[in-house]
Every structure is written in structure tokens, then in C-alpha cells.
Subunit: 621 residues, 2 copies
Amino acid sequence: MDAAQEAQKREAFRQAVVNTLERRLFYIPSFKIYRGVAGLYDYGPPGCAVKANVLAFWRQHFVREESMLEIDCPCVTPEVVLKASGHVEKFTDLMVKDEKTGTCYRADHLLKDYCKDKLEKDPNLSAEKAAELKHVLAMLDDLSAEELGAKIKGYGITAPDTKNSLSDPYPFNLMFQTSIGPSGLSSGYMRPETAQGIFVNFKDLYYFNGNKLPFAAAQIGQAFRNEISPRQGLLRVREFTLAEIEHFVDPEDKSHPKFSEVSKLEFFMFPREDQVSGRQARRIQIGEAVSQGIVNNETLGYFIGRVYLFLTQLGIDKDRLRFRQHLANEMAHYAADCWDAEIECSYGWIECVGIADRSAYDLRAHTDKSGVPLVAHEKYSEPKEVEKLVITPVKKELGLAFKGDQKKVVEALEAMGEKEAMELKATLEAKGEAEFRVCTLNKDVIIKKNMVSISKEKRKEHQRVFTPSVIEPSFGIGRIIYCLYEHSFYTRASKDGDDQLNVFHFPPLVAPIKCTVFPLVQNQQYEEVAKKIAKSLTAVGISYKIDITGTSIGKRYARTDELGVPFAITVDYTSSVTVRERDSKQQIRVNVDEVASLVKEVNDGTTTWADALSKYPTHSS
Amino acid sequence: MDAAQEAQKREAFRQAVVNTLERRLFYIPSFKIYRGVAGLYDYGPPGCAVKANVLAFWRQHFVREESMLEIDCPCVTPEVVLKASGHVEKFTDLMVKDEKTGTCYRADHLLKDYCKDKLEKDPNLSAEKAAELKHVLAMLDDLSAEELGAKIKGYGITAPDTKNSLSDPYPFNLMFQTSIGPSGLSSGYMRPETAQGIFVNFKDLYYFNGNKLPFAAAQIGQAFRNEISPRQGLLRVREFTLAEIEHFVDPEDKSHPKFSEVSKLEFFMFPREDQVSGRQARRIQIGEAVSQGIVNNETLGYFIGRVYLFLTQLGIDKDRLRFRQHLANEMAHYAADCWDAEIECSYGWIECVGIADRSAYDLRAHTDKSGVPLVAHEKYSEPKEVEKLVITPVKKELGLAFKGDQKKVVEALEAMGEKEAMELKATLEAKGEAEFRVCTLNKDVIIKKNMVSISKEKRKEHQRVFTPSVIEPSFGIGRIIYCLYEHSFYTRASKDGDDQLNVFHFPPLVAPIKCTVFPLVQNQQYEEVAKKIAKSLTAVGISYKIDITGTSIGKRYARTDELGVPFAITVDYTSSVTVRERDSKQQIRVNVDEVASLVKEVNDGTTTWADALSKYPTHSS
């Protein structure tokens, strides 16, 4: 199969999945009767149940298992918070406008489409040109506005719909902006992530945890991203549910007490080196990855392992899941290491979970902006003698030399790290003066020996004060669910061979309903039995749906297979009933009194279907 | 105790509750390190757990019990939807501005404060004046902008902080506005309620339900309200969680098959008549209220009963809960009936749940605006002969008479109900012409006999097409939780009598953690036992917290009483342990192997604490 055929097959598969999802109301384009809004979707009843199940399992697997501190913050966020986090300045995409109609496009999308199209469809493309276009595709995320603009002009790319010429690319902030309160003076945004709500509460949460590290806080909630032109259906949307964890840890000790519980797990990893050298993702034990230094530290490794377990237990195919390390150019400058859990679906490899060691960046940013120190303390059991760098700027001399710039020079001197300070001291002692970079003035100044004293002093300290590092696993819940739909979907021929029937083979954990109850024919006796079974299912906490329509039993099975219901109980007798498993279509006969607890056990996993098959008589219809 | 003392006592109680809530991080003022934003609060760890428990119970009690269709829609909503619903035009409060500083105030709040202040603090107030002020307070919600402005001017009310004069009142829309997409042309709002997301999906949901009525849809989610000046702490906030139900029902049959399950419930109701005539709320059986016509219909009555059960099972004091019927002037013109579940707390009686029969208003509004008919069908088993009103405007004649207004006259004629049409017909036949009101032109016109034909015709119909009525129970989750905090809070003296200790007597259903595990002293043996118990608690699904600090057991009890943890397990021996109940402080000895299942049973309610007391030896510390 060539690339075009592959693409066609993927597209057909996606259409089959999406049609089923939309027809059975797993999702609904929002505000459909008003012709909708791009990038906004509703979860209909089965989708909403799947989402609730995924979130409940997330709470169980992460929050409860690790005793995380879960909090719940508002979506409306004042500007100051998002200025501190850098979102006001940097949460942008580059946009171009159709110069006549004003229609907006994402600049990188147009360039990407152009390159892909050429590569796929131009038979006369020279090898040299093809290599160039491939290089552009690889570099897409790194291009500046100027570089993108130059490429768009250079290739003669025009607006897709009108062929009009395009403006130069310029940054568009992706946050939904609003105004808080009636005055119109207080600017706010709908949060682009839930993490900031945790960071600004660090002090209280640290206190709540008995002033002890490490600990993790977690939040589930809506986040917003005003996409320029949403594409990829349910994957790139303007409002979505995030589940985020911020694990605060001593930067000097990122070991994890439970690392041994995951260290033997082996799965596909795609380290930076392998990507750069053109190799494929390969199976690595996470314990190995940490000990070889491929993954920066145990805590990061522990979460990678836990994310692997989470996703595969939900039903994500482990062979279409990989952990890809960020390349140096993808990673924020402050990050120590970053891995994305990527899931392969018909759109390609999709980033669904990001697991980053963000070092002390976020807490420092909010400390600086708010003036409230977001730090941790380690009390020494007995006072420690430490050698401490002491920098004392001589303000009088600095004032004479730098006048209005004095304050910035003082700050820059005080901010020096140990190495830099000791070098400056050496130069001053050797030459009497030195060039010194003041970033906030954006220039070098000359510092003379009498302007600053630098020394190391021994002091007794009772505690260490430091900014914790944060390790952040961040889950795009909607993306995980969409990939799960694709990984769970298959079709099989109907009994008469005339139709292709759709099935979602959700594990019970995820299934929107755990079982259905079908009276075989419409009569009062069977309906009474169905009601009795329904009552016992409620008593054991198993969600169910009764279908008393006279529709043929085959059709009723097909209908609920399409919703991914794992088990069906057919009432075809008054003392015993038939239980059918969705994927094997195998059937067993079970007494009415036992059926609820059996269905509970096979759903909970305390009994396997194989066990049930050997215990109960099989039934052939 | 006089009114002022009462007020002081309430204030002191509230301070005690709120201090405890804030110190133990049940909630945190959002963005506190940046000095916060009025009306925005975070749920800290215990608050977040309480909220999750309340929502889980809501899902169980309403969604699962009634097989409701739960959906999940975005918060970002395009303008057209909220124009149809009336929010763009009418979701406003009246605001006045300090004419010098521009500070904004809610006009009714200033007037209310003025009246209350005068009534409470002015010893020279004449009886006549006092009566006037009381009347103003009673009418507050009904005053127009002009009337409010006149009162404010008349009483010489000025800006509270500056004493500057105030602007005239003008409406301020309470929705947070934003812009969808990059063009800036597509206006949107953060939804003020979740209900609209359900209404616009009616057609799909009706189909999903097999085209059958009645059915209910439900949604839990964030809603937003840009308050002018938030007051009353956690009760009036700018972002909150709503849980809403829209129960769609045939307007000709609002009976409810399960009404008998609630009809014997008796609780405080406050019918319209009793309010108007100055009586108090009184205990009424809901079955009586429906049969006497106090409550409009069975379905509305059923939901009132279910809401009563929901709130009291959460721990709301039934003696401080009442169902108050809306007065005629409070109710929207389209509503058939409306009751608020009000809970008494230190702020007075607070509306926490609204239960309204909104008739066909919402579905009609969206039908009109979208052009998509949101209707239900009732197929007749055999065709029915029906007498049908037929109104045929004679467009030629109307065109000659009304020119450009013709369309509006035609629409008005066609929109006549049966009674109105038959009266018009009679008048036309008697006098040859008639006055006819055209609301959309805001005038009466003269209709002549040759301009319209009105008749009743017999037709065979195969189905009835109608717009369903909607009964809407709408829950303010944050308000319910706050009232629950107040109703659950009490203090008791510490053992030595020196301190007042705080306790929340949450039922297990609500408690943020179900039990704590305390090794009595710090030693490895006890900690091993604690771990073993923790493992079995996890196995039976009971959330717990281990506290291995060496703090005295009394202090550890006090700490968790303050979080409302119902049971504590103290490891004071290796084969058996002490289980303590929070409110009675009674203790029993239980074997290590049995303790997890016992704690599960007393939490689930399958065993009572009294049963446990009689079964196990009591323990005195």
C-alpha cells in the first residue's frame, strides 16, 4: 500500500468511527441548531459517561493512590497571574490574514499544507526540492515570524479559499480575554491551563501538608484556547478538560520511594538522541531509562510509568503508545526534561499527556511577581556550618558612577551566582576593574574594585530555604478519550453477512453502561424478571439499561455493542437468564438470583469471563 | 435577645465557621498571593473532596435513579444562543456609579443598606417612616431603574466610601463577554447557566430517548456571573458550579409515575398565599400540596420531594429548610409555577435550588431563533378526527390596507388562539370589521371581513405535534455546600476545658475523608499495623488518612474532627484497635482483621454505630 492509499484507509476508518460516535451521541457539535462553533463539542450521554469514568479512574489512580491534594480553582483568571506565568506575552500562534477578506489562518498550517501537498502530489519535484520541503516540515515549530513570512512569500502561498495574497505573520494570543467586574478596568482571561491555580496556592498547600516535601497537588477542570482555525475534529478544540498534577520536590533529591514499583515496566520510548539520529522508538524498561540517564530522574520516571499504566488500563493499545522526549529546541529553557505520551491514531501521533520537570520556574515566577516567597524549608537536625557567598555592593560609589541606573546595577551584582561572583572578584583583584553585563540595562558596564565587596563567609544555618522543583504530568482528557475511541473501535459482519456492525471494545472501567437487560419478548412475566434483576444491579452498584422494545434480540445486541456495553442479560426464562459477552459473543446461563453479582464480578475484574465460562453452562442461541 | 444581639450572634457564629473553613483550606480566596479577586474562591483539598462527594451523590440520586441523559457542554457560548434565551437583553442588574471616582455599586444594595440601617439604628424614626422603609425593602426586586433612581435621590443616598453623589441607575449585563476566534467579529459569553446547552440539544436527546416523553437531561458544570460588587462571601460569587435538570414532559400530562414514592413526605412549604397574607411557612405533605393545587402538578411536586430528600440526606437541617413559592411578580411571565428550596444560614434564607415549571418557553425561543423545530410527536394508534382552527389571511386585501405592515398583521392573525379567533370571527360577522391588536406594531388596526377567513375544520390527524413543557430543578452547588458547612458546624470544650474545639458533623456521604488511622505512639510495630489497615481500607474503597506524627492522640482527634472525619482508628495494640466515632466520642475495640469492613459498613450505613456499640466491647481511654 502506498502513502496515498494508507492515508485513504486511515481517513475511511476515521469516518466510520466518527459517524458512529456522532450518531450515538458520544459527542455533538455544540450549538448545532445554530450551525455550531468551530472547535466546540458537547459530550452526549454515552460520551459524558465515558468521560466521568475516565476522570473517576484518574482520581483513583493518581490522586488517591498518592494522597495528592486535589483543589478546584476558577476558570476566570486575572491578568497579573498570567503575566507572571508568561502566557500574556508568549501564549501565541502566528497568524496571517487574507489581505482582502480578512479571514485568518495559522501561518504554520498553511506552510505545512503547502509542503505536504507538494511532496505528495507533485510528480516533477526534484530530489533537492523534496529534501528542502522535508527540512521545512521538520523545522516548522522553530521558525520565527520573519522566517515563516519569508517562506510563505518565497513559495507564493496564498489564501486557500480566495487565492488572495496574505499579510505578514504576526502573533495572536490564544487566550479568551474578558473583563472582571463592572468597571471594564480589570482585565482577565479564561485560564489556558489549570496549573497556575496550583502554583499560586503553593504556600497554603505546603502548610496543609505539614510543611513537608515532596507532595503533589492535582486539579481537574476546564481550560480554554482560542484557536485561530481549529482542525483535527475532537483533537484541537477551544475548550477542553485538563487533569494536571504538580509534584513538588526538593531539587537536590528527585528520587521516588515507589520507583521500584514501576521500574520493570517496559514500553516504547523515543529518546531525543534516537529522534535526532533518525532511529525509531524502541522498548525500554523505565528503570533502565532512568539509570542510563535517558530520563532525568526517578520522580519523572515514576510518573512516566504511572501514566503508562493509566493509559493502557483505560484500553489504549500499548503498541500505539510511545513516550517521546522533547528535543532541545522544543523544551522551555528552564525545563530539566520533558516527555510526551503520544498515542497513534488516524491523525498520526498525538500528544495526549505531557510529563515535564519544570524545575523551579513557576514558583520563582510567582514569587517575583507577587512578592510572596513560594519556598520550602529544610530544618537541620543540628545547625550546619555553611560557606556562604556574600556580595556587598558599595552603593555610594555605584551611585556616583551610574546615577539613575544604580539600582539595576546593584540588583545585577546581588543576583550573581557563586561562580560568576568569584570570577569577578578574581578579575577585580587582578586588574582593579571588570566588564560586567547588566541584562536589565541590556549593556556591559565597568565595575571598579571599590564598588563591590565579594567574600565567602562561614555561617551557622538552622535551615535550608529553597524553591522546590515541580514535576508536572498534564493530561488532555478529551484527546485521550478520542484516541481510546479509535483504539476500541472495530466492525464485524452481521449474522446474515449483509451488514457491518460497529463495536467499541471498551474495558468495563470505561464503558458508559456496564450491562443491558433485554426481556426476549414483550410479556409481563419477563418484564417482572427484568425489573427484579435491575433492582439487584442497582444494589451492587452496576449501571444498566433496560430495553423492552420488541426489536429482535440481534438488533438489540448490535445497538449496545455500538455503545461498548460489555455484558447483556437476556431474560428468556423466569428462573435463569442468558449472559452474553460483547466481543466473544459467548453466552452462559445463570440463575436470576446470581446474575447481578456475577455481572458485578466480571465488570470489577474479580472474576474473568473465562472463569465464568467454565463455571456456568454455555448457551447457544 | 433583641435584633441587634441576634445579628451579632449570627455574625460571631459565621466568623467561627469561616475561620475554620479557611484555616483548614476548605476554601481559599483565589489568587490570594496577588490579593485575590472579589467573588472568586478555590476549593482546597477538603472542600474539593466535599464537592466531589456532593456531586457524586447528586449523580446517584438524580441522574442514575431516573435514568437521566447527562451531557456536558462548553462554557464558551456564542451570542446567538443567549440572544434567543433572553440573557443578552435581560440578564442585568441596575448599577450606579460614584460620579467622581467611577466606582460601581449595585443600586438595590445601596437602597437596601440605607433602609436597613435606618430601621436598625435610627431611634427617632417615625412609625410612618419605618413603615415606608419596610415597604421599600419588600418591593426592592420590583423597582424599575427610574423608581430606584428616584428613591436614591429622594433619600439623599451617596457613595458609601466617598460620600460623592451617584449617577442614575442603568442596567449592567452580568455575563462575562469574550470574542470567539481571531477575527474579533464573533461575540461570545461565558454561560450564565448550563440549561441552554440542554435546550439546544433537545432534538438529538429526544431521538436518543427513542422519541419518547417524558425524559430528563442533566448537566453539571461551571457557570459565570460578573457580579457588580460581590457580597456574602461564598454565597454570591462570580463563578460557580451548577447542576441542572431539564425534565421534558407533555404539557397535557404532567403526572409522574413515581409520585406516590414521595407523596407522604412532609416538610416546610411557604406558598404564595401565605407569604402575601403575612403567615409563616408551615409543614405540608407534598401529596396534599399537589392535590390542593398549591403545587401546580405532580412532576413539579415529585422533584420538590426528591430535592428535599437530597438536601436532608446531605445533612441540611430539615427545620432550616423550606420550599418557598415565587410570588406572581417574581416569576417569569411564561412560568407555570416556581418553588425555591431555601436554606437558612447566618445570612438569612438563601435560595439554593430553584424548581420551576418553565412551560414551553425555552424550546419555543430556540425554535424561533434557529428555525429548527424543537417539538415532540405523539403518534395516534389510529387517525383521530380533530376539529382544527383554520385562519386564512387574505393577503391581497391586507396588502392593500397595510402595505409594509402587512407581514406583521398576517403573523398576528395567524398567531391567534382559538378563543380570540372565534371572537374576532363573531365580531366580523356581526359588524363587518373589528379592532385588532398587533403587538409587533404596538398598535390596534382595523380588520375587515374580507381580510381574513376563520373557520373550524374537521381533519384526520395521525399524530399530535407539540412543544414539550420543561420542569427545571437547578442546584447552586456552592451555596448548598456553604449552608451544609454552617448546619454541620459546632464547638465543644476540650478535655481540659481550656479550649473550644471545632467539629463538622458531616454524614459519611459528605465527609472529605471517611476515616483516619493513628498509631498511638511512634513505633515500627504500630506503623506496620497501620499500614496493614490502610491496605484493607483501600481494598474496600474507604478513603483514609494516616497521621504518624507523635502529636498527642487528643490533638490528632481534634484535628480530624475539624475536618469532619466520622471515624478514627487508633492503633494502640497489635491484634485489636480502637475505633472512635466523631460526635459521641464513643470508642469500641475491634480486631485488626475486621476493622476495615466495620468502618466501611458504618460509613455506608449498612451497620449503625449503635449496632457496632452493642456488638463490640466499648473502650474507655
